[in-house]
Symmetry: C2
Amino acid sequence: MARLRVHGFALSLDGFGAGPAQNLDHPLGLGGMALHNWQFNTRTFQRMLGLKGGETGIDDDFVARGLENIGAWIIGRNMFTPERGPWLDENWKGWWGDNPPYHVPVFVLTHHPRPAIEMEGGSVFHFVTEGIHAALDMARQSAQGKDVRLGGGVSLLRQYLEAQLIDEMHLAVVPALLGKGEHLFTGIALPKLGYQQLEHCTTPNAMHVVLKRL
Amino acid sequence: MARLRVHGFALSLDGFGAGPAQNLDHPLGLGGMALHNWQFNTRTFQRMLGLKGGETGIDDDFVARGLENIGAWIIGRNMFTPERGPWLDENWKGWWGDNPPYHVPVFVLTHHPRPAIEMEGGSVFHFVTEGIHAALDMARQSAQGKDVRLGGGVSLLRQYLEAQLIDEMHLAVVPALLGKGEHLFTGIALPKLGYQQLEHCTTPNAMHVVLKRL
């Protein structure tokens, strides 16, 4: 069966996966950009932006792994928009412009229904109101034998972790302090849920760790 | 004025500074030994045990830094003994044998008074019941111009952090999952308390980070 995978999820030194007070100028919350310094300069990330150059090496390898064999994505509504509550601005089609970097179906978990949006380059945003299990079922069907990548945010990761539905999770622990924001692991006993840390390596920018559910 | 410094405090991937259920066989709590794999094989640590050999390099440099210019230590009572409540076993003189690795006065914070214990090699355990400020005053006086090192545990670190009394803090984030235990930073907004991350580097065993209060 298609696996549910998390890749490139960054965690601050003090345990936060996103900053507080997300808005249009701060899609990752205040201070949240510091979580992703490890990947901005990688060759794979630069290519996703349509640019040339960028660095190869371990950080880049981890970014590239996150794109391998992915047939669908699941993201939380706050990953799609800074708006909360009912959809007011139907012109908003995500942070990524006309050609988002997914190129596969993306299932957006929300409490507020909205018709699917087909973008250039193969990304289609489907809005799912039936909860995390339904979203995973739909994503698996759409993935056509490939895996499903879970993008975040923190709240959605916590729900899927607690439901023991994540098969593999790559975290990048970074030397940044956020002070407040969304805490990833508080109250979640990973070993009890079956997760083990199976792989790790460090670069100047991050400690990379891969957890798997056995 | 003598600074209050923390060195070599290890933090699991999921944010724990010690495992749960400390007892005589598990001075660092269940699973807590995994927090310290990064330092066991260093030359400085091996020397503290009276052994030869051990590895040099960045991990070793951090262990060595923690011993420089230290005139006194402060530790929590649980760092000294697995016993809780009133002192019943007056023969217990710490985990470290007759010649503990401190070689300076050590102020042990406790709710239960006990006469000081003078050990071989210069370590003297003083038991302080008047709280964290009093312990710091006493330690500074004893340190004779040198700095004071705060050893832990987690609860004591949290108290000194929240009181904004720690000047410098070296953390080693390690690729281990504890699942439960004592969480170091939950509810503590480090930047708001004046702490900034000023230095970091990674080794195969840990991400080393130095926080300072500015």
